[in-house]
């Protein structure tokens, strides 16, 4: 059971209070109807699924209820960073630093 820091509750809470909500920073275009089939496929089905740092969404569903984003290493399962929904995606440089 992971221990997850919720950026809204500002505390570590047990995984049982959270729900993983898939890959983060997938942009849903405002003009959906104009998307090509390829773009739709990319948005809805294609996933990074990295062996390394995953940018992912969690919801503190049995806590404050908020969705937020996290960087987690999928081999060690350690969280490198959590941040609120809407905050910018960390740059690759920042991610590389966090791994170290």
């Amino acid at each position: 059971m992971l221990l997850i820091h919720c950026p809204y509750c500002e505390a570590d809470h047990p995984e049982l209070e959270f729900a993983n909500a898939g890959e983060a920073h997938i942009v849903r275009p405002r003009e959906m109807s104009n998307m090509s089939d390829e773009d739709f496929e990319a948005m809805f089905f294609i996933r990074d699924n990295p062996k390394g740092v995953s940018l992912e969404r969690w919801r503190h569903v049995h806590g404050c209820g908020r969705f937020f984003n996290a960087l987690r290493h999928t081999v060690s399962d350690t969280f490198l960073k959590v941040y609120k929904a809407g905050e910018a995606r960390p740059s690759n440089d920042e991610i590389a630093k966090l791994i170290k």
Binding site: N49, K51, T74
Partner: protein, 417 residues
């Protein structure tokens, strides 16, 4: 290859088993192969075997980053069945089941395929409807599957709790008598042994770290921890690591990799005669020939490549096991482990050509691909050899997600296994 039989065993017994040969050769990788299979699990080794046997192609290498059979092939609960709903799936899994029935003889290796029957429990009206839908579709597809009343289910599996005051009483079950289990390791070893004997190079401790393509786009070679190896065709059969490998060729995949756990109890004398699954309460159980109860747990909710999982997942599984079989509460867990399962959006596999010429992919088996091993390997070999799918895997393309022609067993019923 020395024949395995009761006779050869007796002969060897007389001379202290000195004469047995290696199951497979361990050659150094050649510079160039016609076909490279990445991934030495059951599906990869099987693919190499069928390429050799059915397509006469033997200039093949299977590259395995660890030890062969050490992926999900070596860590699954070995449930085999074919009573899937959709025509495509029923076709594929039944093809596999047919091959299972003679696999030991074909490989001259006892894979201990045991057709003790797989029973899937129904706990609510919706389960019953879903089971009936499967049973009817299966009958018209030539796949055996029958409905059992709760009492018939208990007769088939005496430890089952069919009392009405269970939290989710059993309302009946679908039974596929041809279903069962097999010895997972033996499947990998049997294929490896036979493939090796036919000339396939099986190269362990050889991790593929790059896939190189010609300027015109087709694959030319793979980079590995044991050097660069050329190949005209490359088949990726790497289960949980498929996204990582396909990325090397520039192809992004509709896959997510999750940890899936299983556990065994201490061994006991035979008490559990068949395989029982319950999707509603999430419990999958059978008893191995050695006597342990082999129990499948669920996946964690997050991506992970760690081959371990959470304690609460184990708890949920054992909650369900004890609810359905209250006598097992005093049994003890002996070992638990995890595998990395690659899950597609429609929970059906991908057995397909790819946008990259010469690159083929076999993945997406998720929590349920062991049962498909022979069938999948057989049609994937065909796909690689002919550069075109076998009619059985025509629907399992990589590009089906673009158009939306999914094979969504999960949406239609519940999870695979």
């Amino acid at each position: 290859m020395k024949n395995f039989s009761a006779l050869s065993l007796a002969r060897e017994a007389m001379r202290g088993h000195k004469g047995w040969e290696k199951h497979w050769r361990s050659p150094e990788p050649k510079k160039q192969y016609d076909i490279i299979i990445v991934g030495g699990g059951g599906h990869g080794l099987g693919t190499a075997y069928y390429l050799a046997k059915e397509h006469g192609l033997t200039n093949i290498a299977v590259l395995e980053k660890g030890w062969l059979g050490g992926g999900n092939t070596g860590r699954n609960t070995t449930i085999i069945r074919s009573n899937y709903l959709y025509d495509e799936s029923a076709g594929l899994y039944n093809h596999s089941l047919n091959l299972w029935e003679t696999l030991s003889q074909e490989l001259n290796y006892n894979v201990m395929f045991s057709q003790r029957g797989v029973m899937m429990l129904a706990h609510n009206v919706h389960d019953v409807q879903s089971a009936q839908r499967h049973i009817h579709a299966n009958r018209l597809n030539g796949v055996d599957n029958q409905w059992l009343t709760p009492q018939q289910a208990k007769d088939y599996c005496p430890p089952l709790n069919i009392s009405k005051d269970c939290r989710y009483p059993v309302m009946g079950a679908a039974l596929q008598r041809r279903g069962g289990v097999a010895r997972h390791d033996a499947v990998a070893w049997g294929y490896a042994r036979k493939a090796s004997a036919m000339g396939v190079d099986i190269i362990q401790n050889c991790e593929v770290t790059g896939i190189n393509r010609a300027p015109s786009g087709e694959v030319t070679e793979v980079e590995t921890t044991r050097g660069t190896i050329g190949a005209k065709k490359v088949g990726i059969v790497a289960a949980g690591h498929t996204s990582v490998l396909m990325e090397m060729a520039g192809v992004r995949m509709p896959l997510e990799s999750y940890p899936l756990q299983a556990l065994v109890s201490e061994p006991v004398k035979p008490v559990f005669p068949c395989v029982v699954m319950s999707n509603a309460v999430h419990a999958y159980i059978s008893q191995s020939d050695k006597g342990e109860l082999v129990i499948g747990a669920g996946t964690d909710s997050y991506l992970s490549y760690s081959q371990t999982g959470s304690m609460h997942i184990l708890q949920h599984t054992l909650d369900a096991i004890v609810e359905l079989y209250p006598m097992f509460s005093r049994m003890k867990m002996l070992r638990t482990w995890g595998g990395i399962v690659d899950v597609t959006p429609d929970r059906s596999p991908i057995l397909s050509k790819t946008p990259v010429k010469g690159l083929y992919v076999n993945c997406g088996w998720g929590t349920g691909g062991f049962k498909a091993t022979p069938g999948s390997a057989h049609v994937f070999a065909h796909t690689i050899a002919k550069d075109a799918p076998h009619h059985i895997n025509e629907g399992f393309t990589l590009d089906r997600f673009r158009g939306g022609r999914l094979i969504d067993e999960a949406a239609a019923a519940a999870v695979a296994h």
